[in-house]
């Protein structure tokens, strides 16, 4: 069976003052459905670039990328937006919630862009917010919630359109260790429901929860370990 994510010979080159900088160098990586992968590396190792490409926010300079059977390099900007909307849920380090909206409005936003009918949108938003333990905070704005709660709203938003991949960029970077632990347990639970979770981090404790750790340096994969 083909992998969910299949990256082959990916190069991502930035032209800077006549020099070519390789953020990703001839990178090949496959990730199967239902895996829990941590991508590790120091800053400048190319892990963020890799996350942007996997998340369809950026296109590789060369190589091929097939996501759930879709050839990403052939997609227009709007088609990429559709792929992000339907298949990928993002969890950002700074949560990136819209400050003027309540928790439930934030969670309903991806469904607005997907064209989900209003009632269904509302029901589904309540359901995912309950799933992350925020059933009693539906109408709070981000500034009325703690960091851990904001993180959970952003996870709920990522899950709203039932994506196959949850892509988390330094999900524990802004949280205390206790809340970080809770988030990791939540990710474990999602994986057990069949969602593929990819965590980009430089933190070993965070990475230890994953079942597979991919280490990067200078745009290349230097280590790929499946934990027992």
């Amino acid at each position: 069976m083909a992998s969910l994510i299949d990256l082959r010979s990916i190069n991502r080159v930035y032209e800077m003052g006549g020099e070519s900088l390789y953020a990703l160098k001839n990178l090949t990586l496959s990730i199967d459905t239902g895996s829990y992968v941590a991508i590790m590396g120091t800053s400048g190792s190319g892990k963020s670039t890799l996350m942007n490409i996997v998340g369809c926010l950026d296109r590789p300079t060369s190589g091929s990328y097939s996501l759930d059977g879709v050839d990403i390099l052939r997609c227009s900007d709007d088609q990429l937006a559709e792929v992000r909307n339907a298949k990928i849920g993002f969890v950002f380090q700074q949560f990136n919630l819209l400050a003027s909206m309540t928790a439930i409005d934030n969670v309903m936003l991806p469904m607005v862009y997907a064209g989900v009918p209003k009632v269904e949108r509302y029901n589904r938003a309540v359901q995912v917010l309950e799933q992350v333990g925020l059933g009693s905070r539906l109408y709070h704005r981000p500034n009325q919630l703690s960091g851990g709660q904001q993180q959970r709203v952003s996870i709920a938003r990522a899950l709203a359109n039932k994506p196959s991949i949850l892509l988390a960029d330094e999900p524990t970077g802004a949280l205390d260790s206790h809340t970080a632990e809770d988030t990791m347990h939540l990710f474990n639970e999602l994986v057990s429901h069949g969602i593929t979770v990819i965590v980009v981090t430089h933190d070993q404790d965070t990475a230890d929860h994953a079942r597979r750790i991919v280490r990067m340096r200078d745009g290349e994969i230097v280590d790929d370990t499946v934990c027992s």
Binding site: A81, E82, R84, A86, S100
Partner: protein, 408 residues
């Protein structure tokens, strides 16, 4: 996304910076309000001019003597005494489309009653004058056909003359000296106000035959000139009347080519058109002035939208990351601009209606706000939002999601 949803998103964006949004809206409010008010003043002037022309009478045709002139140098209309009272009688006799005819000979003369005297315009005319000019007596009566034929020494005075020489007391039956000749006042005209030709209330009307024999120094031998002829055409026959009169006068004056006419003939329609073209230019100028403030308001919207796009780059990045397409972002910001300008438009229309009413109540100007100017203002404010919103919205929609997400 449905319209209601777009409207809601736009509204949230606007509310997120109330002060700035209100100031931007204010620009449009002022622009639309001045358009409504100034167009109201322009329309009012147009209506006022039409009313004045209508007040001249119904189906009126106005004939004046031509000008003296050689090789392109004209001395001005009415300088050649080419129309005579015989022309008036001929028109009455021979033009079936002419309902009624009245000659006019005016002269500026001194009048006196008791110890008071003043200089006024004495008009020699026919008994048909009040009906043709739609200008009637308020007290007493106009002079009769009999009095005209007898060259009776009777006169009818304007209500301004009553003020001047009779100190406002009832004038009917009193004696009035016109350049030393004794006349009896038989009537007082209604108040009419001033028009383009002067104060219509500062006039004394006498039978034209009496004028010829006593005051004007004209007789059958010297030729009984008239200064203008008023013709009331039969209803719906203005053009026939104009045609018949032109041909008759050419025949009587031995004129071969149309260029050599020694008279000018204007219908009420001509006068109306002249008045309309003048007030039309006036209205256009007012409208153009107001449009400038509207343009400035539109630029205000564009400015605010550009600042808003820059400030909300991160929000745009987030929206794009979770699946907003080019069109979604474009519509969000275009809608925001349109909601701003339409809000301004609606308040501007209300303010404009109020201020047009206020200007009208001052009494100097008549203001008329037509429904079409309200609809036009509404559509213009919609167009402003669209026009000035589309550039900032495109800028937002074209943002690279990664760059946008990274911005603070």
């Amino acid at each position: 996304m449905g319209l209601a949803e777009l409207f809601l998103i736009a509204w949230q964006g606007i509310l997120s910076n109330r002060l700035r949004s209100s100031l931007t809206v204010l620009g449009i409010v002022i622009g639309i309000a001045s358009v409504i008010t100034l167009m109201g003043i322009g329309e009012g002037a147009k209506l006022e001019a039409e009313k004045q022309v209508q007040a001249l009478g119904v189906n009126l045709i106005y004939i004046r003597p031509g000008s003296i002139g050689t090789s392109g140098v004209s001395m001005g209309q009415g300088t050649a005494p080419t129309l005579t009272y015989e022309d008036v009688l001929a028109i009455k006799e021979n033009c079936p489309a002419a309902e009624d005819v009245a000659a006019q000979y005016t002269s500026s003369l001194q009048i006196q009653a008791g110890e008071k005297n003043t200089l006024t315009t004495v008009v020699g005319t026919d008994p048909s004058f009040p009906d043709i000019r739609n200008f009637h007596t308020a007290q007493g009566r106009f002079f009769t056909v009999q009095e005209a034929n007898d060259s009776a020494r009777v006169c009818v005075v304007g209500d301004g003359v009553v003020e001047d020489v009779f100190s406002g007391a009832s004038a009917v039956g009193k004696k009035l000296l016109i350049r030393g000749e004794l006349f009896t006042v038989v009537g007082v005209m209604e108040h009419k106000g001033a028009n383009a030709t002067g104060d219509q209330d500062d006039q004394v009307f006498i039978p034209i035959q009496t004028g010829y024999s006593t005051l004007f120094g004209l007789n059958l031998v010297s030729g009984r000139a008239v200064k203008s002829i008023l013709v009331q055409a039969k209803a719906g026959e203005d053009l026939q009347a104009q045609f018949q009169i032109t041909n008759l006068l050419r025949l009587r004056h031995n004129i071969q080519s149309p260029d050599g006419d020694d008279f000018t003939i204007r219908t009420q329609m001509d006068i109306l058109q002249t008045a309309q073209s003048i007030t039309g230019v006036f209205a256009l100028l007012l409208g153009a002035t107001a449009s400038i403030s509207l343009l400035v308001g539109g630029i205000g919207i564009m400015n605010m939208m550009l600042v808003s796009v820059t400030e909300r780059t991160r929000e745009i990045g987030i929206r794009k990351a979770i699946g907003a397409k080019y069109r979604d972002i474009l519509m969000q910001f275009v809608f925001e601009a349109i909601v701003l300008s339409l809000t301004g438009g609606i308040f501007g229309i209300l303010l404009g209606l109020g201020s047009a009413y206020w200007v009208g109540s001052l009494g100097q100007w008549t203001t008329v706000v037509t429904p079409s100017s309200v609809v036009l203002s509404f559509l213009v404010s919609l167009a402003i939002g669209l026009f000035f919103g589309i550039y900032p919205a495109r800028k937002a929609a074209l943002l690279d999601p990664i760059v946008a997400l990274r911005s603070e």
